[in-house]
C-alpha cells in the first residue's frame, strides 16, 4: 500500500515537472521577456542591465531550477498586461471556477446516476429510448450553443435567471463565494448546467453500461434464485459495484470540467480562470498562460491521485493485487 502511494506520488511529481518545463519554455522562448517589460524609449544598456538582473543570461538549467523553485514558493511572476503578480490574479479567479466546476459535477452526478440506473433496468421502455435519444443529440450540440440556448430560453424569453456574471457574492476570508446568496445561486445555475451536460451524458452512459454488465453476473443471478427481493438486489448489491468505475471517471472528468469551463465562462462572462486564460491569449500575456497551465495540471494530478487512492480504499481486490506489485512475478 505504502509502495503504491509512493509510486503514484513520484509519478505525479514527474508530471508536474514536465508541465513546469513547458510553462518555463513558453516564458523563455515565446517573445522576449525584456522587450515585453520595457518601453520603446528604454536604452539598450538599461535593457541589458534588466536582462542581467532578471537572470536571463544565466545557464538554461539554472534558470529552470530557479523558475521551479519560485513557483513552488508561490511566486508566479508578473503579468505583462496588468503588471500585477500573477499569483494574485489566479487566486482571485480560482473560487469562481472551482465552484462552477463542482456544482456542474454534482448536477451531472445527481441526474446522471439515477438516469443511468433507470435506463439500465428498463432498457426497452419508451422513456429509456427518449432519454437515450435526447442525450445523443445533447452530445452533438457544442457547449457554447447549449449555453446560448439556455440564456435565450431562461434569461431572455422567460426572464427567470440572470445571463452573465456571478450575481451576489460573499467574502469568506479570501474566498469570494456565490454559494451563500440566492442571487449567487441563480447566477450559477445556467453556467453549471451548460458545463455539466456533457459529463451528465457520460456518467449516464457509463452507469447504464456497468449496471447492465453487473446485472448479468453470477452473484446477482444467485441472489435472484435465492429469492432476494429485486429492490434490494438492484440498489444494494448491483448499484454498489456499479459505482466503482464511476468514481474513476468522475475524477478524470473533473480536470476536463475545469478546462472546458473556458467556453462556458466565455458565454456567461463568468469571471473565472478560463476567462482569464482567454484574455491572456488575446494579449499574449505569456506568464499568465504558463501559470494557468501549471495550475490546471496541478488540479488534474491532485484529483487523479486522490481518485487512485480512493479506488484502492473502495475495492479490496486492488489491495490484494497491490501486495504483489513490488515483488517479482511468480513463474
Amino acid at each position: 500500500m505504502v509502495y503504491f502511494i509512493l509510486k503514484r506520488i513520484v509519478q505525479s511529481v514527474f508530471v508536474m515537472a514536465a508541465v513546469a518545463f513547458l510553462a518555463f519554455s513558453l516564458f523563455r522562448f515565446v517573445g522576449d521577456p525584456v522587450t515585453q517589460m520595457t518601453g520603446v524609449e528604454t536604452s539598450v544598456e538599461d535593457q541589458e542591465r534588466l536582462r542581467d538582473e532578471l537572470g536571463l543570461n544565466d545557464p538554461f538549467v539554472y534558470q529552470f531550477v530557479r523558475f521551479t523553485h519560485e513557483m513552488v514558493l508561490g511566486d508566479f511572476g508578473f503579468s505583462y498586461r496588468t503588471r500585477q503578480p500573477v499569483a494574485n490574479m489566479i487566486a482571485d479567479r480560482i473560487p469562481a471556477t472551482l465552484e462552477l466546476g463542482v456544482v456542474a459535477l454534482i448536477i451531472s452526478l445527481m441526474v446522471g446516476v439515477p438516469a443511468g440506473v433507470y435506463t439500465a433496468l428498463n432498457s426497452r421502455g419508451v422513456m429509456t429510448q427518449t432519454i437515450l435519444m435526447t442525450t445523443l443529440v445533447g452530445v452533438s450540440i457544442p457547449t457554447f450553443v447549449i449555453g446560448i440556448m439556455l440564456i435565450f430560453i431562461f434569461g431572455v424569453q422567460l426572464g427567470w435567471l440572470p445571463t452573465f456574471g456571478r450575481g451576489g457574492t460573499v467574502h469568506i476570508g479570501n474566498w469570494q463565494s456565490s454559494l451563500f446568496t440566492i442571487d449567487g445561486w441563480r447566477a450559477l445555475l445556467l453556467p453549471a448546467i451548460t458545463l455539466g451536460v456533457y459529463q451528465l451524458t457520460l456518467t449516464m452512459r457509463l452507469v447504464r453500461a456497468e449496471m447492465m454488465e453487473v446485472m448479468r453476473s453470477d452473484y446477482i443471478r444467485f441472489g435472484m434464485a435465492r429469492g432476494v427481493p429485486m429492490r434490494s438486489l438492484y440498489y444494494k448489491h448491483a448499484l454498489k459495484n456499479t459505482l466503482v468505475p464511476v468514481i474513476t471517471i468522475v475524477g478524470l472528468q473533473f480536470g476536463g470540467v475545469i478546462a472546458f469551463s473556458i467556453v462556458t465562462e466565455s458565454v456567461f462572462q463568468w469571471p473565472g480562470l478560463g476567462l482569464l486564460f482567454l484574455e491572456s491569449i488575446r494579449f499574449v500575456d505569456i506568464p499568465v498562460m504558463g501559470v494557468y497551465l501549471v495550475v490546471i495540471a496541478f488540479f488534474f494530478v491532485l484529483v487523479n491521485l486522490v481518485v487512485d487512492l480512493l479506488y484502492v480504499a473502495i475495492d479490496p481486490r486492488l489491495r490484494i493485487r497491490d501486495v504483489h506489485d513490488g515483488l517479482p512475478e511468480k513463474i
Partner: protein, 301 residues
C-alpha cells in the same frame, strides 16, 4: 472480393437506415452550398460594395417587413444571411478538412511507424500521445494559437490566421489517428503477407503504405468522419471565443459570435440561423460516423 461485398452490404444497410440517409442529405446540401457559394450567393459578404446598410436587419420572408429578395433576412450591415452562411460554411469546411488532412497524415504516419518499428520509437510516440490525450483538444488548440501569437511578428499575423488555426486544430486531433493506426498495425504485423513483404526485402515505407495501410483503412475512415465533426466544432468554438478568425472573413463560429450581440434584441435570425446550420452539419456528420462504425464493426450490428 471481401471489400466489394462489404461495400455492397454497406450500401444495402445505408438504404435501410433513414437516419443515415437524412444525415447524408443534410451534409450534402450544406457542402454543395459551400462549394458553389460564389455562384449561389446573392451578395459577396467580403465585398463591401455588394450590399447596403439600407437593407440592414430585414427579417426572414415569413415575417412581416421582409424583403422577398433576402429569403432568410439580413444582418445589421445589410448582408444577406444566406450568402454569409454559405461563405461561412465554406471557411469552416476548408479549415476543418485541411486540419483533418494534416492530422490524418501526421497521425497515420506516426502510428504506422510506431506499430512497424515498435521499441523505443513506439514508446516515445505513445508517451507524447498520452500527454496530448490528457489535455482536452480545446486547450491544446488555444495554447498553440497563443504560442503562434507570441512567436509570429505582428505584421504577418492577420494573413496567417487561417494557417495558424488549421495547424492548432490539426495538432489537437492527430492522436486519435496515431493510436488507431498503431493498434491496427500491431495486428497486421503478425500476418503472413507482411512477413512475406519484409522477407522479399521491400523498403519499410513500401510495406507500411502499400501493404499495411490499405488493410487498416476501415477504422481510420470512421475516425476521419468523427474527427471532421470535431474539427468543425473546434474551429467554431475558437472563432466563437474570438480567438479564431477575424470578423472580415467569418466562419460559422464567427457568425454565431456576431449574432450573440442580437440575443437580447428581436433579431433572432442573425444568431439562430448560423447556429442551426452549424449544429445540423455537425450532427449529420456524427450520425454518418456512427453508421460507418456499425458497418466496419459487425459485432455491433
Amino acid at each position: 472480393m471481401m471489400a466489394f461485398l462489404k461495400k455492397y452490404e454497406g450500401l444495402w444497410l445505408f438504404v435501410h437506415s433513414p437516419a443515415a440517409i437524412i444525415a447524408a442529405a443534410v451534409a450534402m446540401v450544406i457542402i454543395f452550398g459551400a462549394v458553389f457559394a460564389s455562384g449561389i450567393a446573392l451578395v459577396d459578404p467580403y465585398d463591401l460594395a455588394s450590399f447596403s446598410l439600407f437593407d440592414g436587419l430585414l427579417p426572414p420572408v415569413w415575417q412581416e417587413g421582409a424583403n422577398p429578395k433576402y429569403l432568410l433576412g439580413t444582418d445589421d450591415q445589410g448582408r444577406d444571411m444566406i450568402s454569409s452562411i454559405l461563405y461561412g460554411a465554406r471557411v469552416s469546411l476548408i479549415i476543418g478538412l485541411s486540419a483533418l488532412a494534416i492530422a490524418a497524415f501526421l497521425g497515420v504516419g506516426l502510428g504506422l511507424a510506431a506499430g512497424y518499428y515498435g521499441g523505443r520509437f513506439d514508446i516515445i510516440v505513445m508517451r507524447i500521445a498520452d500527454v496530448q490525450l490528457a489535455l482536452p483538444a480545446i486547450l491544446t488548440a488555444l495554447l498553440i494559437d497563443g504560442i503562434a501569437r507570441g512567436l509570429l511578428p505582428q505584421s504577418i499575423q492577420q494573413d496567417l490566421r487561417v494557417a495558424v488555426l488549421t495547424l492548432a486544430i490539426a495538432m489537437s486531433l492527430w492522436v486519435n489517428f496515431a493510436r488507431t493506426a498503431r493498434a491496427s498495425t500491431f495486428v497486421e504485423m503478425n500476418k503472413e503477407y507482411v512477413h512475406a513483404a519484409i522477407m522479399m526485402g521491400q523498403r519499410p515505407s513500401r510495406v507500411m503504405f502499400v501493404h499495411i495501410l490499405p488493410n487498416v483503412l476501415g477504422p481510420l475512415l470512421v475516425i476521419m468522419t468523427v474527427d471532421l465533426a470535431s474539427a468543425i466544432l473546434l474551429e467554431a468554438t475558437l472563432s466563437f471565443l474570438g480567438i479564431g478568425l477575424p470578423a472580415d472573413s467569418p466562419s460559422l463560429g464567427t457568425l454565431i459570435r456576431i449574432g450573440m450581440q442580437f440575443l437580447l434584441s428581436g433579431e433572432w435570425w442573425i444568431l439562430w440561423i448560423p447556429t442551426i446550420v452549424l449544429v445540423a452539419l455537425v450532427v449529420s456528420i456524427n450520425i454518418l460516423g456512427d453508421f460507418l462504425r456499425d458497418i466496419f464493426n459487425p459485432r455491433l450490428r
